[in-house]
């Protein structure tokens, strides 16, 4: 099981001068089927340490399925997922989370009745040692631990500039803000790999700009590797280092934004041939 991957690359330098590390995660010949439907067909790509990796493609291309494979929600019928140089066995999502992978969802999945603060606090769950009874008693170690976690959560609140909604129930927040809270919860887990499923869907231009800045800052400040799905091509091309393009479950392009934009298959998928 724990054999070293044979093609662990050494990384590369981006145009803006950031050093990207070696391979963090590698997807090898992944195929995912739901009954007779092939959602993902024989796809391979890698994610390097410290990069912002985008997965794009038209609706129904299999992007979210891919993300679900990475996060352990789906186990592919064929293919292997390699993480930090070892092959990952079939895992439950919480086990993947414990390995340092956190995510946000396309349709916001927050606790609507809980405050921003409490929602982000739930992101710390995998880091908490004290059990349920200990936390209920809230004495000694539990209290001390909560203070430590709260400190970390406050740093995230500060980072995402959401101080004003700290105590507001999430259900009362506008959509763009909820997206930000969800990002906050994912960050609270201090992930090594952050998966963002359409972080900018349904946002206006200003909210998109804010979110783009936060994604870049997360990458820059915490060194977090980010894999994201996004529809807005402008955003994708601006912020990502490398892009995987999917169409009908197949990979049709992979490379830097400039390379992908010049790829005829990609142009066809997006512009030339109608997919609707």
């Amino acid at each position: 099981m724990n054999e070293m991957t044979e093609n662990s690359t050494v990384g590369y330098m981006t145009d803006d001068g950031r050093q990207i590390g070696g391979t963090m995660m590698e997807m090898k010949n992944i195929t995912l089927r739901f009954g007779g439907v092939v959602a993902i067909e024989d796809i391979s790509f890698d994610i390097h340490e410290g990069e912002i990796r985008a997965i794009i493609g038209p609706n129904g291309a299999g992007k979210s399925s891919m993300l679900n494979v990475i996060s352990g929600f789906y186990n592919p019928q064929e293919g292997e997922v390699w993480f930090h140089g070892s092959k990952r066995p079939a895992m439950r999502p919480y086990q993947v989370a414990q390995q340092g992978v956190a995510r946000t969802f396309q349709n916001i999945a927050l606790f609507k009745g809980m405050s921003t603060l409490d929602n982000i606090m739930t992101g710390r769950l995998t880091k908490m040692d004290v059990g349920m009874i200990g936390q209920a008693m809230w004495w000694g170690k539990a209290a001390k631990e909560e203070a430590e976690h709260r400190e970390r959560v406050e740093e995230i609140i500060d980072f995402l500039e959401i101080q004003a909604i700290r105590k507001t129930p999430v259900g009362r927040l506008p959509y763009g803000m909820q997206k930000r809270v969800e990002l906050g919860r994912a960050l609270a887990a201090e992930p090594k790999l952050l998966l963002l499923d359409e972080p900018m869907a349904g946002m206006n231009v200003e909210e998109k700009e804010d979110m783009s800045r936060f994604i870049l800052d997360v990458n820059d400040e915490f060194g977090t590797t980010i894999a994201l799905i996004e529809h807005d091509m402008g955003v994708v091309m601006d912020i990502s280092d490398r892009v995987v393009v999917m169409d009908y479950g197949k990979k049709i392009g992979d490379g830097t934004p400039a390379e992908v934009l010049a790829n005829q298959d990609v142009i066809d998928a997006y512009l030339g041939v109608s997919n609707d």
């Binding site: 803006d16 001068g17 950031r18 709260r150 400190e151 406050e154 740093e155 609140i157 500060d158 980072f159 500039e161 101080q163 004003a164 700290r166 800045r213 870049l216 800052d217 820059d220 400040e221």
Partner: protein, 653 residues
């Protein structure tokens, strides 16, 4: 305060005194990471010294300008004190300014150093730095997102402090020598006026201006080291400088900085300042939100609120002013305080306010009374940057909504023949930087400064009343004084009136154009089942006319009481068929009425107002938001309003 003033001739000297006298007392608080962080005066002295040493390490000269751009944070206040310590001059700037406006100010003062908050400001400065020949170093507080930037001219605030601490032995003698050289005539700060007319001007204020003014104003209101203020108004504004630096350093009180602009209301509640300033629109916003929430509350709560607010209106102001109030009134008020006023004040964050000020524009009497009747000592002051804020202010026991108080300590105020208010004080600014012509225009050889406002002193109370901008004040045909804004402000306090333009200069009576407030009148229409298809139709509705006529009649009664301006009662009016609009050039971008343009554009309507007609057909050009032009036509009704006859003798006076 019992202290020797001899050596306290600069902000750094005051800081040293505070560190020695109140070393352990809170000087600054800032909410960060959800908790109020606290620095005492001893710590502040250390922070400021470290930064000043860091400035020296970067090669700052005496007389250099240090621009400060950001929201209210302790670090910026320290940066100002540190700049002063090395003999440089802090120039706090508005953070919302765009890059070009910023470039003008930075270029005008030739700032060598710029202290900014974060990436947003860094980017703006980088955008314009090529135009700035003197600019050398930028110091930022928040490093986020800046890692990849070219750091040859950029430094992190904390790093500069570390370098300063490391080089303490080397630079401390120089720092001490520079602080020693500061005296009352050294420049303390330079503040740019907002520049509604033309380019911003740099107002140079000396240590004498700031320290004497701080001393006088603290004595006037008995401010001591125990006060808490919330620093939330722009640092570029003179008021923030005098409150958060001048008075804070003079008395040693604590300056509290909000976590972010959006959390200001929560932070206000948590701090509960004892000394507080807010512009009228702020109080208005607070009152509106209280009223909306009361409308939504349960019937019993609403009843209790209304009942006790009635009691407050009746007795509150008198109790606050220390006048005699009967036992019944006092008991009712005490009950009200228990059930309503105290919890309400707590919600508003005003429980502990001992001295509160509002200024900047006229405040509605009802609004003002609301806060006073709750037992909040809200007062008015009148001032400007060139005066280091204070020209007049209201003493505790003599507060009214329609005056701005008596001359502040040390200030002489004179009314010249044209009604314009002039003042002379220790706070009068040194000069406009690099602008001797403007300086000479504003300040005469004897040190008198023109305010540009017209006003007069009330005979019996000695309080100043500001009636209008001096250039707008005229005479009526009978020689009586004509001050349009005085009447307009009274009318605009009615929620259904959005804008009023009063005419009457050189005429024998006053007339007015009225703009209704679509939100307020629209909601009235909805409640009363009045159907309307357009603004124009609603504006011309007979019932709307009647309501506005009632307001005018009421205002006429109040204007008639004013011995100098009783001639300004409105005899005839019409409701305009369109809203006055900045796109049409009728208002400035800050929503001030442009009288001349309106007078020309609607000359047919003005003629009709003075001709005795009862209606007028008109065609008006309008500009749409996309710049296209169109025109609207309307037949407007003109109504007469009853005027209170005025004692002829007074009018002729």
């Amino acid at each position: 305060m019992a202290q020797s003033n001899a050596a306290l001739e600069s902000i750094p000297a005051l800081l040293a005194r505070n560190a020695a006298m109140f070393g352990d007392k809170a000087a600054y608080r800032e909410k960060e990471y959800g908790i109020w962080q606290r620095w005492n005066w001893g710590e502040v002295a250390g922070e400021v010294e470290a930064l000043a040493l860091g400035f020296l390490n970067l090669g700052i000269h005496e007389g250099d300008f240090v621009a400060i751009i950001g929201r209210n944070r302790p670090y910026f206040y320290w940066a100002m004190a540190a700049a002063q310590s090395v003999g440089a001059i802090p120039v706090p700037m508005y953070q919302e300014q765009n890059a070009e406006e910023m470039a003008y100010v930075l270029g005008h003062c030739g700032a060598r150093f710029v202290v900014v908050e974060d990436q947003e400001q860094v980017d703006k400065v980088i955008d314009v730095q090529d135009e700035l020949h003197q600019f050398e170093h930028m110091i930022y507080i928040d490093p986020r997102g800046l890692r990849k930037y070219d750091h040859r001219r950029m430094h992190q605030f904390s790093h500069i402090q570390e370098q300063g601490r490391a080089a303490r032995d080397e630079f401390l003698p120089e720092l001490k020598a520079r602080i020693e050289r500061l005296n009352l005539d050294s420049i303390c700060v330079m503040l740019y006026t907002s520049g509604t007319t033309g380019k911003p001007k740099g107002v140079v204020l000396s240590n004498r201006n700031i320290i004497t003014t701080a001393q006088n104003s603290c004595e006037f209101d008995n401010l001591g080291p125990g006060e808490d203020v919330l620093a939330y108004l722009p640092m570029a504004w003179v008021g923030d400088f005098i409150f958060s630096i001048g008075q804070a350093y003079w008395t040693g009180f604590c300056v509290n900085c909000p976590e972010s602009p959006e959390t200001m209301m929560t932070d206000l509640r948590e701090i509960g300042p004892t000394y507080y300033f807010a512009p009228p629109r702020f109080f208005e916003g607070q009152l509106t939100s209280v009223m909306i929430r009361m409308e939504d509350s349960g019937r019993f709560k609403k009843w209790l609120f209304d009942k006790f607010m009635g009691v407050a209106r009746k007795y509150g102001s008198d109790i606050l002013a220390g006048k005699s109030v009967g036992l019944k009134g006092r008991i009712s008020y005490a009950l009200g305080n228990l059930f309503i006023y105290a919890p309400l004040k707590n919600t508003l964050g005003l429980s502990r306010v001992r001295v509160g000020y509002t200024a900047g524009e006229a405040i509605g009497p009802e609004l003002f009374e609301f806060y006073r009747s709750l037992g909040i000592n809200l007062k008015q002051l009148y001032g400007q940057t060139e005066a280091t804020v204070y020209i007049t202010q209201q003493p505790d026991n003599d507060v009214r909504s329609d005056t701005v108080g008596v001359p502040s300590p040390g200030v002489e105020v004179a009314i010249r023949d044209n009604g314009e208010v002039y003042y002379r004080s220790p706070g009068v600014f040194v000069e406009y930087y690099n602008n001797p012509d403007s300086t000479a225009d504003t300040k005469d050889a004897e040190g008198w400064v023109a305010t540009g406002d017209a006003g007069y002193f009330e005979k019996d109370t000695g309080q100043l009343r500001i009636i209008d901008r001096a250039k707008d004040v005229g005479k009526m045909a009978d020689g009586g004084m004509f001050a349009p804004k005085f009447v307009e402000n009274k009318l605009k306090f009615f929620p259904d009136i959005l804008e009023v333009v009063v005419f009457g200069a050189g005429r024998d009576m006053c007339t007015a154009f009225v703009n209704i407030d679509l939100t307020a009148v629209g909601s009235w229409a909805e409640r009363n089942n009045v159907a309307y298809a357009s603004y124009q139709e609603l504006a011309g509705h007979p019932e709307v006319y009647s309501t506005i006529a009632e307001h005018l009649e009421e205002v006429n009664k109040s204007v008639a009481q004013d011995e100098m301006l009783s001639g300004c009662q409105i005899s005839r009016f019409l409701i305009l068929h369109k809203e006055l609009d900045a796109d049409d050039g009728e208002l400035t971008r800050t929503r001030k009425v442009r009288r001349k343009i309106i007078g020309e554009k609607y000359s047919d309507l003005i003629d009709a107002l003075y001709s005795g007609k009862s209606e007028i057909y008109t065609e008006t050009e309008v500009t749409y938001e996309d710049g296209r032009k169109g025109s609207i036509t309307a037949t407007l009704e003109i109504r007469d309003v009853p005027v209170v006859p005025v004692n002829q003798k007074v009018a002729a006076e």
